[in-house]
Amino acid sequence: MKREKFTVVESTCVPLPLANIDTDQIIPARFLTATTREGFGENLFRDWRYGKNGKPVQDFVLNMPAFSGKILITGSNFGCGSSREHAVWAIAGHGFRAVVSDSFADIFMNNALNNGLLPVIIPSATLARLTTQVLSNPGTEVRIDLERQILSVPGSAVSAKFPVNAFRKECLLKGLDNVDYLLAMKGEIVKFEPLWAQ
């Protein structure tokens, strides 16, 4: 199956500078009853975004008219907790193409990559500077170039190289699908027996 390619994203950002944001916050469990991948975006950060009365919480960043864009800037260990891929579907469903932090939880990172949502890991000091810059100037445009693996703020000193596994990068750039990759080696797999079974 073809997926949307990721090459360059240039956009304003939404800053959410909290550490250890778990996937229960990204999408609470009570919204996991659906059997499709669609529609999770509207419940992204549901319990931070809407009050008990269902009204938007004015000082939550997704409700602030000043902040919008395709890039979510967040804190350390983003996406910890539950393995629910629904968290990635919610973030992507809201319109984000990349999440920027100085560290991500392992399962979240795999889930993001499998859905064409780019987890961008930059040094803590750069993240702090970028966050401050975006908070003080919500119009700040950030450029994420996957081919060169560089995040930068054009016209400013903020620039950082970010790591991406070469195989994952190729898949994202070309919009390739991992299941297709595995299916192509089915012959090899059905003949394979783990060491103990031989």
């Binding site: 250890n20 469990a29 260990n77 629904h86 994952r168 299916l183 783990p194």
Partner: protein, 465 residues
């Protein structure tokens, strides 16, 4: 000679292909699925026009989103019902073994798999659930995956995965009376922090671990993910093999007989190198509780909440967390009135947990004003509790046993804790809203939960033994 960790031995034995500059293609021996994270994966197979490659290597259980009362009736919520029905239909069409509601083998996926003897030493095991790390207690590489990866396993019995680093956590000495394996793992997580083991696969070793039963080991491995670890395992020993040998019908399990031949090999070689080594003294571990909104925010049951979250960067999150809980830095929680107690989940829903809880509440009465949910991890656990007379003792003390499921651990069903209420919970996560919107969760072991259930307050269980 090449000295290897147990983790590397198992991993290497399952690599079908190493992708150049990429992840490994890892063969998966055992795949567990449940109703919440599998439907989109089956949908993916349908849209590709392919079927499940090795259905005999997958087992399905309904657990996350099922009621714990009146399971003989149809699920009242139509959306939840549709999700469980979808699992049944998908499993049936693919020829996958399915333990539906009311089936004698039904229960929480991480409780039933080991009970059935499907989880074995030396295996690679995955499930679309982060607490798959539980199965590492048997000396398996077991970890949680997302739905796209569930689709990969259904389609190819393989997964693309980058090899994590290795960490060994050695726990020397003996746990004190009144201290459980849950307290130990909460203590370890509080020390390493909620993200402290990210990127690592953990091996637990040392006297305190070796002295544990399989149930206790599963509690430890279960919470590996709560410090960010990809998984956690314990090398199989006599305790492991004796547990397996006692499972009815295990001799007919071909995987078991083959893996049993590898018994001497399934260990970390002397001199094998870990990327990180951490050591703890079991005798220093007190009964633990959490005070914040991640499992790393833990302290002794009679401890004091720290005055700050450490670095300035994390302090905002720390204060937000305390604010959510209704606590302040520097206060004690001992004596705090609680509203709910939950005993259950894949962390503490096994027979030994119910024994510990029952032992402490026997001859006492449930405290007024506290709602207590006792949810066995499986039907087998429930039957065993009945057989041992635990159910009867609990009834006399004013408690009622529910039917198996994930229940209040993630509150997908109706077992929700109301906003603002305090819940002492033997589950694994105290995230905001985890047990219901606005619910305030205090994680603890089964003895501390029992002490709270009969006193109505945060109580040191050591004073009640």
């Amino acid at each position: 000679m090449d000295r290897k960790t147990l983790f590397d031995k198992i991993w290497d034995a399952h690599v079908v292909r190493s992708v150049t500059d990429g992840p490994d293609v890892l063969f998966i021996d055992r795949h567990y699925i449940h109703e919440v994270t599998s439907p989109q994966a089956f949908e993916g197979l349908r849209s590709r026009g392919i079927s499940v490659l090795m259905p005999e290597r997958t087992t399905a259980t309904a657990d996350h989103n099922i009621p714990t009362l009146n399971q003989h009736l149809p699920i009242a919520d139509p959306v939840s019902k549709a999700q469980v029905d979808t699992l049944e239909a998908n499993s049936g069409a693919a020829g996958i073994e399915y333990f539906g509601i009311g089936h004698p083998s039904n229960g929480i996926v991480h409780v039933t798999g080991p009970e059935k003897g499907y989880t074995l030493p030396g295996m690679t095991i995955v499930c679309g659930d982060s607490h798959t790390s539980t199965h590492g207690a048997f000396g398996a590489i077991a970890f949680g995956i997302g739905t796209s990866e569930v689709e990969m396993v259904l389609a190819s019995q393989c997964i693309l995965q980058t090899r994590p680093s290795r960490m060994r956590i050695t726990v020397d000495g003996k746990l004190a009376p009144g201290v459980t394996s849950k307290d130990l793992i909460l203590y370890i997580i509080a020390s390493l922090t909620t993200g402290g083991a990210t990127g690592y696969f953990v091996e637990y070793a040392g006297e305190a671990i070796r002295n544990m039963s399989m149930d206790a080991r599963m509690t430890v491995c279960n919470m590996s993910i709560e410090m960010g670890a990809r998984g956690g395992l314990i090398a199989p020993d006599d305790v492991t093999w004796n547990y397996l040998a006692a499972i009815p019908g295990i001799e007919n399990n071909r995987d078991y007989t083959r893996l049993a031949n590898l018994r001497p090999w399934l260990k970390t070689d002397d001199g094998a190198v870990f990327d990180k080594e951490v050591t703890f003294d079991a005798s220093e571990v007190p009964p633990m509780i959490t005070y914040g909104t991640n499992p790393g925010m833990g302290m002794a049951v009679d401890g004091v909440i720290p005055s700050s979250g450490g670095s300035n960067k994390a302090n905002g999150s720390f204060l937000k967390s305390l604010d959510y809980m209704g606590f302040k830095p520097g206060i004690k929680l001992l004596g705090l009135p609680v509203d709910y107690v939950f005993i259950g989940s894949c962390t503490n829903g096994r027979i030994e947990d119910l024994r510990a809880f029952t032992q402490l509440v026997a001859g006492k009465k449930k405290a007024d004003g506290v709602t207590v949910l006792i949810v066995p991890g499986s039907h087998r656990v429930a039957r065993q509790a009945e057989k041992e007379g635990l159910t009867e003792i609990l009834k006399k003390a004013g408690f009622e046993m529910r039917q198996p499921g994930c229940s209040s651990c993630l509150a997908m069903n109706e077992d929700k804790i109301p906003a603002g209420k305090y819940s002492v919970s033997t589950s694994n996560r105290n995230f905001e809203g985890r047990q219901g919107p606005g619910a305030r969760t205090i994680l603890a072991g089964p003895l501390t939960a029992a002490a709270a259930a009969v006193t109505g307050r945060i109580t040191d269980p050591r004073e009640m033994l």
